[in-house]
């Protein structure tokens, strides 16, 4: 526990920048009033927030625990991916090598890319974000701790599925982008491709859940007074990244589902002989794949924007321009996907559109790089205006980032130019470029971030010279490995070849690349050993060891207690210009908002989005095994699909739904509580009684992902109608009118009845809820009727696309039915009242979104037919 400073006690208000010295408002009594013993408060809060020992660790939902688990698991997968990379380099070290046979080599490079992209990079930054954001924003946990835990289990099980399949010799071997037709059933007949499609989709559940979690946390779980313009810049980065994930991942999820449906049931979405098109897969994959690069880069850039000012001793230069740049990057990154498809025969005008956008994205990237250089170059504020930035281990990695990422960015601009790309496409030049971007833009910044936040996470100080040795080995080894690939690529060496001829002239360059890669691997090993030694033998870290100015360093101890803060300050200025060393002891005394332990509740403040004014007390869920069981049941669904035991998959899916229905529990929501004291004179409702609780935000955010999925599906259908061969089919698969009209009416009825249930006396809303349930079931039935009326789905992509659209509709109606059933159940069990109406509001919101989306789906068949007929040659 940090010792309180001597002298007159400071209040949390007086420590804020630009603090208003006005008189404190009169306060109603709060449970902690009068209690000033920080040790007693610490003990009380620990009892509520701590994760239990032994088997209870499987019930952990705390964001620090789950965040660290994400990061450690990601590092394990990184090690596996690294070993696979070493195998690749051994194979390519000499011409005509027989070290790996071609089929195994294909599995190795496929798994290397898959592991690094899906099992390492994304989960690592998710874990870091989960760990840091609540501390940085002034909250005790993420908005949905059980969702974090569920996401972790899905990630662990999905990743394990991929690795076990590889060890069993059934790894995917079609490249990490799984292009069709290579990955289609006739050309990849084993289960390797299914493992990829189902395993990655399983893992993506964790990505979507993390995106929802991060978005809602940043929007409403902040310290009082922390308006959006006061947020630390890392929060802006993660908010942007989460939004990108919500839009960027659904196309991949959709593509994986469609390809798996083709492989398992013969629905010909990608088969050109039956109205499909392999290019549809490329579109869907790269609609995800290119934003993915920025999804990986931006969290690392957020870490850089946070730690460079700390080591420079100056505030971030151009904060506003940096925020503008990262938002611009987010948008522009969605306009680049076709630059992976320049050689597919698109018209010149289309190529020009994507080439322009690809070069354009370099501008906001450069804005950030110049902002970081300016931060390092500008004079310090007094009293040390000429002091130089500190050269810590973190800063070494920042240097590595600048050197490598800028080179990767410049080769990216080269590849954005169509004529150059035509020459370098699918060569080792591209391999060099993507590694310069991803390792330079992600790995080096994350290593910098790791060293920066290591004292926070572990409580151990780090100052070992081995870390510097590790950096130089990695830096030199990296450049030795990948710089030479620019040259071999320009000499014509293609990607993904398992051998090359001795007379190719690539031998020595490849040999040096391979030797350098082992230097790099030794460097990583040195870093790992150094970190392990630090964790085991490092001296105890002092509070805020880097003199940082963000709230995560104001926790009472290092590592932080499970509750993060004993109380929350009121933020009155920029949240990246604080004095954590002074704030920490004040908060530890319980001075501020919610500075008490009450009823065993896990309480944190919820604020208004824009101004950060406290609006609700969010009660977070206790430790529970539910996420674990839900993850296991979800895993059973995917395994059943993988082994094609479909009845079991249906049963497991029902178990998942049943488990999810057990999530919305909590004694605090069993009765109206009214507004409760929250400290600092504030009286706030519990989240279960607040007008817009976190669950409503989550549904709004999830609707973005749902919209992206639907848009991708409709795009896919329309793309096939105008671009795929064999359209329209010989007999157009007209859908019957009656179920379509019935579905439209039922959608409207669902919307009206859900609104009716939410209006007036909700306690009398049971009939309306029952009607909403029936409406959704009617939509579900109508969707099934329409699918049943289609000709065999295997015959042509037209009916397969229509069936997919109707399945989307039926699935969403089924979710609406579950929500209506849940609201009815909660109404009957006394968990719903005029103040506690989350369950009904969730249903109302769902139906309000489903009505327009459903009508679009119902109108889609006519649009598809019209377009297909218009495109007749």
């Amino acid at each position: 526990m940090t010792k309180p400073p001597s002298g007159p006690p400071e209040t949390v208000q007086s420590l804020m920048p630009d603090a208003d010295p006005g008189p404190a408002p009169a306060q109603p009594a709060a449970p902690g009033d009068g209690v000033t013993d920080p040790l007693a408060l610490d003990a009380g809060l620990r009892r509520i927030w701590a994760t239990g020992p032994g088997w209870q660790r499987f019930a952990a939902v705390n964001h620090s625990v789950v965040g660290v688990r994400f990061m450690v698991t990601a590092l394990v997968f990184f090690t596996i991916g690294g070993i696979l990379a070493m195998l690749i380099r051994v194979q390519l070290a000499t011409p005509d090598s027989g070290f790996l046979e071609p089929g195994l080599y294909a599995q190795v490079f496929t798994m290397h890319g898959t592991v690094m992209m899906f099992l390492f990079a994304i989960p690592l930054f998710e874990g870091l974000a989960m760990y840091l954001l609540p501390k940085m924003l002034g909250a005790r946990d993420m908005a949905f701790p059980r969702l974090s835990a569920y996401g972790y289990w899905c990630y662990l099980f999905g990743g394990t599925l991929l690795i076990v399949a590889m060890l069993a010799g059934a790894a995917p071997d079609g490249g990490w982008f799984m292009y069709t037709p290579l990955s289609s059933q006739p050309f990849s007949p084993g289960i390797g491709a299914d493992v990829w499609l189902l395993g990655v989709t399983f893992v993506e559940i964790s990505a979507i859940s993390a995106a929802v979690e991060i978005t809602v946390t940043i929007l409403i779980l902040r310290a009082p007074g922390m308006s959006m313009d006061r947020m630390p810049v890392f929060a802006w980065y993660m908010l942007t990244v989460a939004a990108m994930m919500l839009v960027g991942f659904p196309p991949l999820i959709l593509g994986s589902i469609l390809l798996e449906a083709e492989r398992a049931f013969g629905l010909p979405f990608f088969d050109p002989l039956r109205g499909g098109d392999p290019l549809l897969w490329q579109h869907l994959f790269w609609l995800f794949g290119h934003p993915e690069v920025y999804i990986i880069f931006l969290p690392a850039a957020g870490a850089l924007s946070t730690l460079i000012p700390v080591f420079a001793g100056r505030p971030l230069a151009g904060y506003r321009a940096v925020v503008a740049a990262l938002v611009a990057m987010a948008f522009l990154s969605f306009g680049l996907w076709v630059h992976h498809m320049y050689t597919t025969g698109l018209p010149h005008l289309s190529l020009a559109l994507f080439s322009a956008a690809s070069t354009l994205v370099a501008v906001p990237t450069a804005v950030q790089i110049f902002a970081w250089i300016a931060t390092l170059a500008q004079r310090r504020p007094k009293p040390e205006p000429k002091a130089r930035p500190r050269t810590s281990v973190s800063m070494l990695h920042v240097f590595g980032f600048f050197f490598i990422f800028v080179m990767g960015g410049l080769t990216g601009v080269m590849l954005a130019i169509v004529p150059f790309d035509w020459q370098a496409h699918d060569t080792h030049f591209v391999v060099a470029h993507l590694h310069y971007v991803l390792i330079g833009g992600f790995l080096f910044p994350m290593l910098a971030a790791g060293y920066h936040w290591l004292p926070l996470i572990s409580g151990r100080a780090h100052d070992g010279p081995a870390a510097r040795l590790g950096f130089w080995l990695v830096f030199l080894g990296f450049n030795g490995t990948f710089f030479l690939m620019h040259i071999t690529g320009l000499m014509g060496m293609p990607r993904r070849v398992h051998a090359y001829a001795p007379e190719s002239g690539w031998h020595w360059l490849n040999l040096i690349s391979s030797i350098s890669s082992f230097v790099m691997a030794i460097g990583f090993a040195v870093i790992v050993i150094d970190l392990l030694m630090t964790l085991r033998f490092g001296r105890k870290a002092e509070p805020d060891p880097w003199q940082a100015a963000t709230l995560e360093w104001a926790v009472p101890t290092l590592p932080p207690p499970p509750y993060n803060f004993a109380a929350f300050p009121r933020i009155t200025g920029r949240a990246d210009k604080l004095e954590p060393r002074k704030i920490a002891p004040v908060l530890a005394r319980g001075e501020g908002y919610l500075g008490f332990a009450r009823h065993g509740w896990m309480e944190t403040t919820g604020v208004s989005v824009a101004r950060g004014e406290p609006e609700q007390i969010v009660i977070l869920p206790q430790q529970t095994y539910l996420p674990l069981w839900s993850g296991i049941a979800t895993g059973a669904v995917f395994l059943s699909l993988l082994f094609k035991v479909y009845p079991l998959a249906i049963v497991a899916a029902l178990v998942v739904v049943a488990l999810f229905l057990r999530w919305p529990v909590g004694d605090h929501a069993a009765a109206d509580r009214g507004d409760l004291p929250a400290g600092e004179g504030a009286l706030l409702p519990l989240s279960s009684e607040a007008p817009v609780p976190p669950a409503i935000w989550a549904l709004r955010v999830l609707a973005v992902a749902g919209g992206a999925l639907l848009a991708s599906l409709l795009f896919g259908g329309l793309f096939l109608a105008i671009a795929a061969p064999g359209w329209p089919p010989p007999v157009w698969p007209d859908l019957p009118v009656v179920p379509g009209v019935l579905a439209a009416l039922a959608l409207a009825a669902g919307w009206i009845t859900s609104r009716g249930a939410a209006r007036g006396d909700v306690l009398r809303g049971a009939p309306m809820l029952g009607a909403a349930l029936a409406s959704n079931l009617a939509v579900l039935g109508a969707a099934g009727w329409m699918i049943a009326a289609l000709p065999p789905l295997q015959d042509h992509a037209a009916q397969a696309v229509l069936a997919a659209a109707m399945i989307w509709l039926g699935l969403h109606a089924a979710i609406g039915a579950v929500l209506a059933f849940n609201a009815l159940r909660r109404l009957r069990s006394g968990h719903v009242s005029a103040r506690r109406r989350i369950d009904i509001d969730l249903l109302r919101l769902w139906q309000a979104g489903l009505l327009p989306a459903g009508l679009v789906v119902l109108g889609f068949p006519a649009a598809l037919k019209a377009l297909a007929l218009a495109a007749l040659p």
Binding site: A321, F331, G335, P347, L349, A352, L353, A610
Partner: protein
Amino acid sequence: MSAGTRILVAIAGGFTLWALVFTAVYAGHATGCETGWGLTPGPWGILPLRIVLVLLPVTGLALTLAGLWLLRRGAGLAPRLATTARLLTAAAAVATVYNFAFTAILPLCT
């Protein structure tokens, strides 16, 4: 409009328009070329498809500039957010010009 919505619109509005124009131009171009719509020269020998593909970004640019004009006094946002919103909207306008100028000059369907 709530304060949160105002922030969202101010910050994301410009590039949302850019994204809409991008989607419309790409989709319109592909559809026009595949269906053969607008490929018969109209008045002054200009293809109707080209007119559509030029008007879409011009409309987007006009709306983006209108948004920039509305933001000139901050639109009720905190100063730092207002500056960020202006920067983003101006960047979106530049991006629209840079990205879609080709629609006026390049061959359409080859």
